[in-house]
């Protein structure tokens, strides 16, 4: 192992960390939003939509992410062109940046797992508090915002933090459709200077650093929220 090269590679990788994190955070937030909607639809037994959610979740959770990414990469541009044509817009779907395709594919896949976490955290809130809020005349929305969501968040944080790491790692599949993240950059560096071990070791170090920071921050935040309960 050439430590000088390792160090150089590591520094070079730092340059793509911001865009990798930005992608990861975007996907993470979207997956929570979509997952919450899925969980609410299931919890409130919304007719028709509930069935759709169940089927979509089943499909997404059963499809390897790489298969979904390729499927979308090759089908989404035409689909978007067709749909925008239907509503009278002249948009060429082939202009969709690959990063968007990656965001859509990973967000929905992670959301289908996230939905279960979120549903579990809703269910962890005892029925008594819900009855109390109802008895005081809260609307379902007020109750969700003031009582259910803040408590569910505390329950869900450990799961959320590991799902963020899953997202971080899943993004590396973006390499297959030309999205450059930490892993993709490491590959490019390695092909360039032929020091493969150094490049991938530098990438691994970067991933470890990011996970260490994520886990520390999330457990601090969880502790903080627990002290306020």
């Amino acid at each position: 192992m050439n430590f000088l090269i390792l160090f150089e590679d590591f520094v070079q990788l730092l340059a793509v960390v911001p865009q990798t994190l930005l992608l990861a955070i975007t996907i993470f937030i979207l997956s929570i939003l979509i997952g919450t909607v899925m969980a609410l639809i299931q919890e409130y037994n919304v007719p028709v939509l509930k069935l759709i959610v169940v089927i979509v979740k089943l499909l997404l959770r059963g499809t390897p992410l790489i298969v979904l990414i390729f499927l979308m990469y090759y089908s989404l541009p035409d689909t978007v062109t067709f749909l925008s044509g239907l509503v009278g817009l002249d948009y060429n779907g082939t202009n969709i940046p690959p990063a968007i395709i990656l965001i859509v594919a990973v967000s929905f896949t992670v959301a289908s797992f996230q939905a279960e976490t979120i549903r579990g955290s809703f269910l962890s809130i005892n029925k008594g508090q819900i009855e109390a809020a109802q008895s005081l005349g809260y609307t379902p929305y007020q109750m969700f915002k003031k009582i259910i969501a803040p408590q569910a968040l505390v329950e869900a944080i450990p799961e959320f933090s590991s799902s963020f790491l899953i997202v971080m790692k899943a993004i590396s599949l973006g390499f297959m459709i030309t999205v450059v993240d930490i892993f993709a950059e490491a590959r490019l560096i390695a092909t360039d200077n032929s020091y493969y071990v150094e490049a991938f070791f530098a990438a691994a170090l970067m991933y470890w650093a990011i996970s260490a920071i994520t886990v520390t921050l999330s457990s601090k935040y969880e502790e903080y929220l627990h002290s306020r309960m």
Binding site: Q129, S135, L136, Q142, R228
Partner: protein, 251 residues
């Protein structure tokens, strides 16, 4: 001020209320007694629609509802005229003592924060919980939590306060604290419906006692009438059993 006519409710095949009529005047303290599982709590939960009666009519203050045709708006306004104190306290875990009392005032009744705070502290003072204003419920004893939940119920200026076995989940030595707070509340003239197994307390604070069994009101009347001069076999049997148990446990 509160009137039920022909109130019926079943959970699945199990008929819980089989046609209850009831009349409550403003300022009444009405206590429901009777064996477990006879629908006492269920009646209370019909008032604020935490359970869904199958049929029957209700008048509450200026509202009348037919339970067969009740809509979401009616449900909300029923709930905004009433407040409930639960057996398990049910304080909001993510809020401090004072926030628990303030929240509904702000969220549901659009009061300003300072107004809500002032009223909350006044009520917390009444239930003797002022010094715990910034504690979270998990740090309080059951009796303290129940006193806070009484303050929370009073904070929304309800027409009726529903007490659902407020002392059943408490350690025996904490029961009296809570009972004395309820007694104070009763003296303010607010209308109260109370389900309890504390017979002596029921006798002391109510002006009307309702004996229920099997989904029916068996007998209702003043405490003297029910506890001393009941003409009803079932009432007498229930009360004698109850006092026998007391006598045995006292020994």
């Amino acid at each position: 001020m509160l009137e039920f006519k022909n109130l019926k409710l079943s959970f699945g095949n199990k008929k819980v209320l089989k046609g209850v009529d009831l009349n409550v005047n403003k300022g009444d303290v009405v206590t429901f007694i009777g064996p477990s599982g006879t629908g006492k709590t269920t009646i209370l939960k019909c008032v604020n629609y935490l359970v869904e009666p199958n049929e029957g009519n209700m008048h509450l203050a200026d509202m009348s509802v037919d339970f067969k045709k009740i809509n979401k708006k009616d449900i909300l306004s029923l709930r905004r005229k009433t407040a409930m104190v639960f057996q398990q306290f049910n304080l909001f875990k993510n809020k401090t003592v004072v926030e628990n009392v303030m929240d509904a005032q702000i969220v549901v009744h659009n009061k300003s924060k300072s107004e809500a705070y002032e009223k909350s502290m006044e009520l917390l003072d009444k239930v003797g919980m002022c010094d715990k204003e910034n504690e979270y419920p998990s740090k309080l004893s059951g009796g303290q939590q129940q006193r806070v939940s009484i303050a929370r119920a009073l904070a929304v200026n309800p027409e009726i306060v529903l007490f659902d076995e407020p002392t059943s989940a408490l350690d025996p030595e904490l029961v009296n604290d809570v009972l004395s707070v309820i007694e104070k509340v009763a003296k303010t003239g607010v209308t109260i419906l109370l389900v309890t197994h504390e017979m002596d307390f029921a006798r002391k604070i109510s002006n009307k006692v309702v004996f229920m069994e099997n989904g029916y009101v068996v007998e209702e009347g003043s405490p003297e009438q029910i506890f001393e001069n009941s003409q009803n076999e079932r009432t007498k049997q229930f009360l004698s059993k109850f006092y026998l148990k007391e006598a045995v446990s006292a020994k």
